[in-house]
Symmetry: C2
Subunit: 349 residues, 2 copies
Amino acid sequence: MRATVIHGPRDVRVEQVPDPVIHRPTDAVVRVVATCVCGSDLWGYRGVRAPGEPHRIGHEFVGVVEEVGVEVRRVHVGDFVVAPFSISDNTCVHCRHGVHTSCERAAWWGSPDHEGISSDAAQGEYVRVPLADGTLVVTPEHPDAALLPHVLTLTDVLGTGHHAALSAGVHAGSTVAVVGDGAVGLCGVIAARRLGAERIVAFSRHPARQALARRFGATDVVAERGDDGAAAVHDLLDGVGPDAVLECVGTKESMDQALATVRPGGRVGFVGVPAGGPELRVQTMFSSNKGVVGGVAPVRGYIEGLLPDVWAGTIEPGLVFDGTFGLDDIADAYRAMDERTVTKAFVLP
Amino acid sequence: MRATVIHGPRDVRVEQVPDPVIHRPTDAVVRVVATCVCGSDLWGYRGVRAPGEPHRIGHEFVGVVEEVGVEVRRVHVGDFVVAPFSISDNTCVHCRHGVHTSCERAAWWGSPDHEGISSDAAQGEYVRVPLADGTLVVTPEHPDAALLPHVLTLTDVLGTGHHAALSAGVHAGSTVAVVGDGAVGLCGVIAARRLGAERIVAFSRHPARQALARRFGATDVVAERGDDGAAAVHDLLDGVGPDAVLECVGTKESMDQALATVRPGGRVGFVGVPAGGPELRVQTMFSSNKGVVGGVAPVRGYIEGLLPDVWAGTIEPGLVFDGTFGLDDIADAYRAMDERTVTKAFVLP
């Protein structure tokens, strides 16, 4: 089959690789119907994080089950499934606490698991899915083409935005600001709105993303960044910062902006993969009681809760996809995301 | 009147200072009935934090109102009052959010306020109390000698322990560990118990404090520190860390211990005044979803809620006082706390 391999900075290639087969009785093999490129894929692509040896890449996919191991019970051949960006058994103590990313048997697409067996990654034609009963969520039906992008966001960005909002303690009536106008930040706006936030300020200087943020429920948009951005938000909110800030970038600057923006006693929900930081200003946190909660989003536990609103069209997170590419053109997809000519690239194998 | 002045490292003196008078119509003058020495007073005393120019010290006192300004409404001459460790108006937006330490008119005992007028500090015979209606809480009656130490803890350590527990998200059924066996940590045990925690592990290697922690509700005591301490707690809890860790020290080592101990998805509630740190391990926080919430405790907002349990004797936080000193001997009180021969020094003017 064909699958994407990253060889080094700005060097992703579609190559012939072995077709996946069932390794363990708890595996399934899924035919990928749609995948995409994540902002965090760009850390390796840009060389911010060393990509290491050539390896398979991509961690977001939906598809159809082609084969299951003899111990797989919940997932059946022919099911349409959503695969979250981490592999988990959905039964261990950490999964029961809702922290599937810390599953005792957690593994990551394209990386070796605890026994050293590498899994496939998402940007390919087929994927062997370990712990299929735990990892995969079956949808009510096969989604049509229009629904497909929305469903695909359940694998990562929608759940990650939701995690930012929950981590920041967003609830009905909250005031919220969102740092980051990428797909995760935009999904953070959706999540804050869905949780009943009364006022949502999106930081963005990009007209199309500003418009999408407003469509998703942002009540205000602020173009300034850093302390100027924080001051602009305070001006909008009678001089007081918002109760909650969603940090959806992962740089020192974005975290500082989030901490400068949130009101005393408020919380920053952070989901941006820290790239060379961020360094937390502990004295600021202490003196103003600004909490920092979040991390790599345990989206597996959120899929069932978010799926009905996606299926019903109540929320339209798939609008974050503004470019569609064939698998053979995935290098173009990476380039477009790197150059920010698309927010998020939708990829059809 | 006599009051305590810190001149430099290990140099506290009781001196004659001017009697306080009403400066503003919102002031009151309180005769101090009991005061004490705080662990955070030791940062200056030990020279960890530069003590600066000689200045008045002490931020915990209870007493009787002697005089009130013409605009004071809620507090009357003769009332017995609890003074929290920060001055606040109890009406601004931050106070209404429960973050009295970020009050728009916040000020600190012994320091200049926003207009440069210095207030008295607690370790003396009398104190001018700014914003008396906001700052002071009147007790139902004058407490007797037996109740006095318990009531005094409402000024700081009980509310601070309570803040750690709330910040860490402690609720009925929680598993909790407490880093720090000083007065705040011990009050953190009380608070966790009071909030319904099912399992409370106290870190302590000091027999008397271990015993007090158990009396306050600790179900287990761990003497090890650092990663060994974290591992010992995990052993007690079936290999899983506690839901919540109360960080009641304020060093890099104590914060690292707290982060190593808490389970994935759990929260560290931190109230130890950061002394030269702590540096937060952001990658640990991110990869395991370990949140850090807390800060300088807004105890003013907790006093009314905690007072009934103190008054009824349901909780006995005053047991943290294990040494009593006259004001003239306050240098001995500092020395005893510095040398850890007492947990917390009770001081009678």
